[in-house]
Symmetry: D2
Subunit: 341 residues, 4 copies
């Protein structure tokens, strides 16, 4: 098995390297970077010194069985067609194939979609909600981190018609690594540390992705308020979700819906009542933690969902998708529990 990572020096790319190096089925690893091709990987990331990672390649991608694309949006779409023709499986960690509609893509990403004809071939790669459609596919749109945390919490409840679809509020919080390795004043240590803020208010690009998949689950179009926040920590993501439950629905009904969907899922954990998830529960792992309560005073369910933004929110889920399309055990290479503390 030959596997490639394009964009191997970003945080998601490096996380893929960490996972794929330990993956039993992966025999050969091709790593490329447009910006630092020709450099030793361990020069870019000295913690890999002594591990024989080798040289970063340019973008003349050889024949591979699977190629992970951890690239800025737009780039994967322009190259995916060629990869598919060469019979390579493509797992895109970016946004190019997540939205079914090229028009909505263009509205939110402000560029023309470079490969509209491929949109219908792509599948949204959230295994716990979409497993059968993913199997055997060649072009996987790996979900965004915020959508992953949100959809795992809400899709079962919407599928089971337990919630009203008006006024869904998703108040989400992420560690800084989600913004990537690029330097900017907004990610300067002295500006982020001991600080907390909202960003992308009413305008974050994960909004249409969340709405598309929630609408599909509910069986009709819906909109959400989605507000991301930046937490002074490196990893981790938590979504606090507010949703009005339908008349007559009890907390137990909500919980049963989750259990029905997730009881056999190795990565999704519904915590005992009263134990609320913390981002650190998932740190460095592909695990997901869920909890909810129904506030009788307001009729709202309050739902909390936790993932590691670089694992279940990016690289871990991408490997899970690879395992799925290749027919390997789904937990292969991503089965660990969090690093604690």
């Amino acid at each position: 098995m030959r596997v490639g990572v394009l964009g191997a020096t970003g945080y998601a790319g490096q996380e893929l390297v960490r996972l794929l190096r330990r993956h039993e089925k992966v025999k050969e690893l091709y790593l490329s970077s447009s910006s630092v091709a020709g450099q030793e990987y361990a020069e870019v990331y000295p913690h890999w010194s002594g591990q024989n990672i080798g040289i970063l390649q340019d973008e003349n991608v050889p024949d591979l069985d699977v190629v992970f694309c951890a690239l800025p949006h737009g780039l994967t779409a322009s190259r995916a067609g060629g990869f598919l023709e060469r019979k390579m499986k493509v797992i895109d960690l970016g946004a190019d194939f997540r939205l079914n509609s090229a028009q909505i893509y263009e509205e939110w990403y402000k560029v023309k979609h470079p490969a509209v004809e491929l949109l219908s071939e792509a599948v949204y790669g959230l295994p716990e909600l979409n497993r059968e459609q993913i199997k055997g596919k060649a072009l996987i749109a790996n979900p965004g981190c915020y959508p992953t945390a949100t959809l795992l919490a809400l899709v079962p409840l919407l599928r089971d018609q337990l919630l009203y679809t008006e006024n869904l509020i998703i108040d989400a919080k992420s560690g800084v690594s989600g913004a990537g390795r690029g330097v900017a004043l907004g990610y300067h240590y002295s500006e982020v540390n001991e600080n907390f803020k909202a960003y992308g208010v009413a305008s974050h690009r994960h909004t249409p992705e969340i709405e598309q998949e929630l609408s599909r689950a509910a069986g009709r179009p819906l909109t959400v308020n989605f507000t991301p926040h930046l937490v002074p920590m490196t990893r981790g993501m938590l979504a606090t979700i507010y949703a009005k439950v339908r008349a007559g629905i009890q907390e137990e009904d909500l919980r049963k819906s989750w259990i029905k969907h997730y009881e056999k899922e190795p990565f999704v954990h519904i915590l005992p009542r009263g134990t609320w998830p913390q981002t650190k529960f998932a740190s460095g792992s592909n695990q997901v933690f869920l909890q909810l309560t129904l506030d009788q005073r307001t009729g709202n369910a309050i739902i909390v969902s936790v993932i590691d933004n670089l694992m279940k929110g990016a690289a871990g889920q991408a490997v899970q998708n690879m395992n799925l399309i290749m027919g390997w055990p789904e937990e292969q290479g991503i089965s660990g529990t969090a690093l604690w503390p």
Copy 2:
């Protein structure tokens, strides 16, 4: 002027010491602590070494002009009557006099209120919203930190009837210092650092305080969903608030309501459109920062409010109340801007 601080070794108490030591009108400072009476203040807080703070007193409080009570709930209520009889002004940083109803107090705080007869004498000390009622009063209930951040954002809009009162969502985030100096596993560095969590979900004691004051502003009873979260930082508080605007109301109407209420307020700053508050903007200061947008897609206003939890959320506001009841300039001793970075 002789001023006292009861509970002078907690974080709010120590912050009062910092402020009162620099306050021009305060000539004499009486500091007490039930747990470490007799110790040098600088033994408890060595950063005060060389500043001649003196010895911590016991609770035989001498005659004072103003006494700040930074004590666990229940204690101030049992002592306030005596202080008032001795013609001392009482500013309670705890919860004992914030709720008008002894019954609601008992429901949420699980103890019988020790001084029901004083409830009608107390005034809720949020100067920007309540200034005239505070002046000249002798018993001030200094608001909780979460209520301060929330009410400053919402009260003008509710008074002006710009929002529906159903489904108000307050998703709030606080630094760890709000939990005080007591040790517990939940505040152990290794458990909090690189971690983010919700707590007190649908059960936090600031909920009835928020509802009481919002109901007063709206002119009718309302309930809210209030969810506090713990941010891995020491200071700072941010509330993200979701509220449905009434039909026909535009973003500009909301902004005008804020401007009308706050244009002469020295501590409240409505940021330029598009600049969202960060907790660090207020760090160590009594300043408040506000921003909002109206999401046309959902009809919800998204409002963000920022304070320093120990300043405008506790000690700073308490000094502001002292200035007000004593007839001194309201900014005296609390006029500074944030420490940055």
Copy 3:
């Protein structure tokens, strides 16, 4: 293979659980805790929910092949004899068997040594420096975290007589997890965050352990100045070491000594000249990173050594020792690279 962890709910104990659960040779895991026996492990550490860890046992230890003792000092010494008689291998993560001299133990630990007769049976478990003596032994004293970081840097250079033995300065810095999970004001988030301090100055208990092993390497008694500091981070350890090089010795000689000792070591990495180790290089891994320079102006070598305090500084090294005494591949279960970022 049946393996036990006594003190399984401390941080080192929990890290052992994480490692042993993934270790291919370990079939059965016995976890005990004196304080919370009878509880589900996942109640103590909810991030283990859904992983079937089971119930914490009391201290009636069954027959095991290997028992790891992550207990306060004094406890292991009083129980080790019984374990050894039952033919169990004992790996002590505490201090009871690190010092050869019961008298020095008593001076620094302020208790009488409970099992002086076992001291001669124990071996100091630092594989890279002591591999042959460890193999086949039944009682392993797993080194302290500070000694591990220090000895890996200095022992080769002292063995090769490249340094003067006077005036060795070890200025060390550790993340907070090294202090364990016990609550105390000194580890309260609000007191540690945005703070840095020295502690145990000229009195830390790792001093005699460092001196014993450095003296052994140098072939004569020596003393050191060892000053630990607390860094506002959870994991990681860095030692900055100052040592005067012998007349005529060049930087290249120092480097060659390291290479000679470590070129075949899987866990020890001498970084390229000019690349200085950072604690994050080792985070969550058993890796060690070294760098040095010779300051011609002063004649001092400045040496920096980095480990993860809970891995190579505790649980990782303990598993390495288990692998060694059991004759398994030394990297089994501990071969990973750091979690980054």
Copy 4:
């Protein structure tokens, strides 16, 4: 009094703004920035919104009484002569006038000194050690942060001939704000958080500054090992210093030397024996905290010195120097204690 700050948008510049806005003698404030001239100050630093700071000026500096230069090295030297001719007092927060020797400046800063003729007019502005020479001077070289922490600890002991001058080791640790507001991967939050490293090993530019002033104190040339480290925190600086005491000297002699030098100093605090300084003791203040012990086993004094790098290490000390040369009370505008927690 008209006062100017050149480089008003860097961290030291902004700290000067914070201090000068509250300084009673400063009536008018001129702020300039070469990079963002013409912008509102509150656009650059929104926490100043509503405080009427005004527009950032370009570098056509008007007549001022005092001008603070917080500029990259080289720039102040090229402009200082002109300012002095216009009878302005110049306080340079950069390095241009700290070294007496243009040759040593050029060795370490790699540029030719632009104003060698002014070197003899400049005075090294460390008031506690140099007060009489500073008074009335027109060109002040404000010391570096690391030198300030180091010199306050060592100069008294060297003046009093209590230490050997060989093998002085200064192991120093700084918060990230010392690196300024410029963006770079090395200051990216995700790379700094949960990380600790040495930098500038045996090559940091504060080395010759430290050596110059220590040599002056000792009365003969000496060299030091100075190793700075980056702590994952925003503010604060701590130096751990190792020095061999002369034969016959006791810990008490060292302490007496400090007391003799500092007993009347408002900013310098020698802590009670056994209480070791923490960086947070000084956070946001101009205070200095000192402690030492004499390790009888090695004959070394271990000395710890703490300052806030942006206050006593930069802006606070600069204002102290202004107060001194203008004949104002030395604590004016900088008398506060730390923000805690």
